[in-house]
């Protein structure tokens, strides 16, 4: 039986029982009252008869027939009264029994109703919990079905609903993905099919960099507004003309050659060293980028992008001039100090205290000169102005020159130097930068090798490379600091207290310059045993 049937039945039962209770009580009450009335009548009749009898007795009537009649009437009435009392008693009993049965039945039905409502609320709680799961998006939650009633059916329906929601969600997500993809495709098609060319043209027109497009023969097909402003030419004046109309004689020949080569070989090209001429004859520095492009048709085209960097070049030149002049002005008096002190040291007649003072002063002057040199080099390096200019270089000559340049410090330090290099060893490299690297390495070796130590400077061929090694028996670099040696301002903690002035820039320069000339640096160092730096260069 279903819950609603049970509920309906229990409430019907309740109503029926209560109605029955009232009906029975009412009918019993009526009967009871009727009997009561009868009893009262009988009693009143008996009383009357008694009174009549007493009267008759007083009047002295002694007729036996009358007496028998009175006796007959009294006993009839007494019997009637007794009967009425009996009936009254039985009705009271019946009433008690019926009321007890009814109360019992009502109690049974009420307790049944209570237990039913408890089970309903339990089922409702389960349902509420399940609903929470679904709300949280856990569509895999299944409501247990173990009743055949409405809850069982409801649970089943609920589970079905969950399953549907899950399917619907999945379907919706899939649809959204499909629609998004369709939309993207539509956008792409709009961009491709509609007037994408116009959009690109707008972008090119709005560019603040001058843009020119030419055919393969360098006839101008298009120029943008920025190009017109940069050159002073109107677009209509230059269509079909060649780009060489901008050419000045100021662009260096090697840059021009590289440009021609790149165009002929259909390669990209970039330079900041172009000098172009405007329509009015004035010149400007240009940063030029060229992209050769092959179109789908037979003929290709060339895109040129130029930026007017005249003011930048002027500022840069001013900066370079200033740095150059300032360092010159610092170096001139410094040279005199250094040279005077050096020549004083060579004089023998001097007390030891004065000699030490002069030696210290000389060392300070040398340190200052090295700092200026390193600072200038680093300024140029970081401005990207140091370029490798390779020529055929004799390694032996470079080693000899480096040793000669540093002969002052060599004499002072009293270190034994050996140079080992085959006289025919040569390579293609930038001589000036190579000397710079080696003088940094050799200068370090002198500074950080104690008196009576030795240095070996050697060059040799190793496979397709040339290696140059500077090995000393000096203080070495502590193992824990070896990973930091290429850092700017790095100085080994074990040499910081030495009298030799170090800038902490030498090894930084060695690594940076080696990269520029296409070389690599490696080293082996043991504290208090020595250091060996090896520069490896492609021959």
């Amino acid at each position: 039986m279903t819950i609603s049937q049970r509920l309906r039945l229990s409430s019907l039962l309740n109503v029926a029982l209560v109605a029955l209770f009232i009906l029975i009580s009412f009918s019993l009450l009526i009967r009871f009252q009727e009997i009561r009335k009868t009893t009262i009548n009988v009693e009143q009749g008996v009383e009357q008869q008694m009174r009549d009898l007493v009267q008759t007795l007083h009047e002295g009537t002694e007729k036996p027939s009358e007496m028998a009649e009175i006796h007959e009437r009294i006993s009839t009435m007494l019997q009637g009264s007794l009967l009425a009392r009996d009936q009254e008693m039985s009705i009271e009993r019946q009433f008690t029994i019926i009321v007890s049965i009814l109360v019992f039945l009502i109690t049974v039905v009420a307790s049944g109703t209570y237990s039913m409502s408890a089970s309903i609320s339990e089922a409702l709680n389960r349902l509420e919990e399940s609903t929470k799961f679904i709300v949280e998006g856990n569509y895999d939650h299944v409501l247990p079905v173990h009743q055949a009633d409405e809850f069982g059916r409801f649970s089943h329906a609920f589970n079905q609903m969950t399953e549907r929601v899950k399917e619907a969600k999945h379907l919706l997500e899939q649809r959204v993905r499909e629609r998004t993809a369709e939309l993207e495709e539509a956008y792409r098609q709009v961009w491709e099919k509609s007037d994408s060319a116009k959009k690109f043209q707008k972008a090119v027109e709005a560019s603040t960099e001058g843009i020119v497009i030419c055919d393969e023969d360098r006839n101008i097909l298009y120029v943008n507004r920025a190009w017109e402003q940069q050159t002073g030419y109107r677009a209509s004046e230059v269509f079909g003309k060649r780009t060489s109309l901008l050419k000045s004689q100021k662009t260096k020949s090697d840059v021009m050659e590289a440009l021609e080569r790149a165009i002929n070989e259909r390669r990209e090209f970039h330079s900041r060293d172009i000098v172009n001429r405007r329509k009015d004859g004035s010149e400007y520095n240009a940063e030029l980028t060229i992209y050769p492009a092959r179109s789908e048709e037979e003929k290709g085209f060339i895109v040129g992008i130029q930026k007017d960097i005249t003011s930048w070049k002027i500022a840069d030149r001013m900066k370079s001039d200033f740095v150059s002049l300032a360092s010159h002005q610092l170096r001139t008096p410094l040279t005199e100090i250094r040279w005077w002190l050096a020549s004083l040291i060579q004089k023998s007649s001097m007390d030891p205290k004065t000699r030490t003072t002069i030696e210290n002063a000389h060392r300070a002057a040398v340190g200052m000169a090295e700092t200026i040199r390193a600072m200038l080099m680093i300024t140029n390096l970081e401005a990207g102005e140091v370029h490798s200019d390779a020529t055929k270089v004799s390694v032996n000559d470079v080693l000899t020159d480096t040793v000669l340049m540093l002969s002052g410090i060599r004499e002072r330090r009293g270190v034994h130097l050996t140079v080992e290099c085959p006289s025919d060893l040569s390579l293609e490299t930038d001589e000036r930068l190579l000397k710079e690297i080696l003088s940094c390495l050799l200068s370090n070796a002198y500074k950080y090798t104690p008196q009576n130590g030795s240095i070996v400077l050697s060059g040799k061929r190793a496979g397709g490379n040339v290696t140059i090694t500077v090995a000393d028996t000096g203080y070495g670099i502590p193992v824990s600091e070896q990973s930091r040696i290429a850092e700017k301002f790095f100085r080994g903690s074990n040499v910081q207290s030495l009298k030799e002035a170090g800038t902490g820039l030498g090894l930084y320069l060695v690594y940076a310059l080696s990269r520029i000339i296409g070389g690599s640096v490696s080293f082996v160092s043991t504290e208090n045993a020595g250091t060996s730096f090896t520069l490896t260069l492609p021959a």
Binding site: R331, E336, W339, A342, S407, R432
Partner: protein
């Protein structure tokens, strides 16, 4: 020709420095002449071409580049070593284009290192 007969011309506007250079080089037995600017240098060269020219760049009247241009115009063949305190890549490049043998930065050497650095260029 022995070293004693070699003539080194020094073009250096700093008097003290010029004198020191002369002293250092004279110790090696060469004949040293000092001029104080580019104009004097050109006059000296026109009189007699030295076996080596030690040329400063920044000088009054005519600078080192003026002297180098003059040498090129006159097609003189004079081994030239720049001894200057200028050292920019531009200056070094320009001097290389003029065919200078070496570029010595004065403050980077001691006076004693001067002779070993130039000796091999004396013609």
């Amino acid at each position: 020709m022995s070293i004693q007969k070699k003539v080194i011309l020094i073009a250096e506007d700093d008097e003290a420095l010029g004198d020191m250079m002369r002293q250092v080089l004279a110790r090696h037995g060469v004949d040293v002449t000092i001029v104080r600017n580019g104009k004097e240098a050109i006059a000296a060269i026109d009189r007699k071409q030295p076996n080596l020219l030690l040329l400063d760049i920044l000088m009054p009247e005519v600078d080192g580049y003026g002297v180098l241009r003059h040498i090129r115009e006159k097609k003189y063949v004079i081994p030239t070593v720049i001894v200057s305190n200028l050292s920019s890549a531009n200056d070094q490049e320009t001097c290389r284009e003029f065919g200078c043998k070496a570029f010595i930065v004065k403050s980077d050497i001691d006076d004693s290192a001067l002779w070993p650095a130039i000796e091999k260029y004396i013609r």
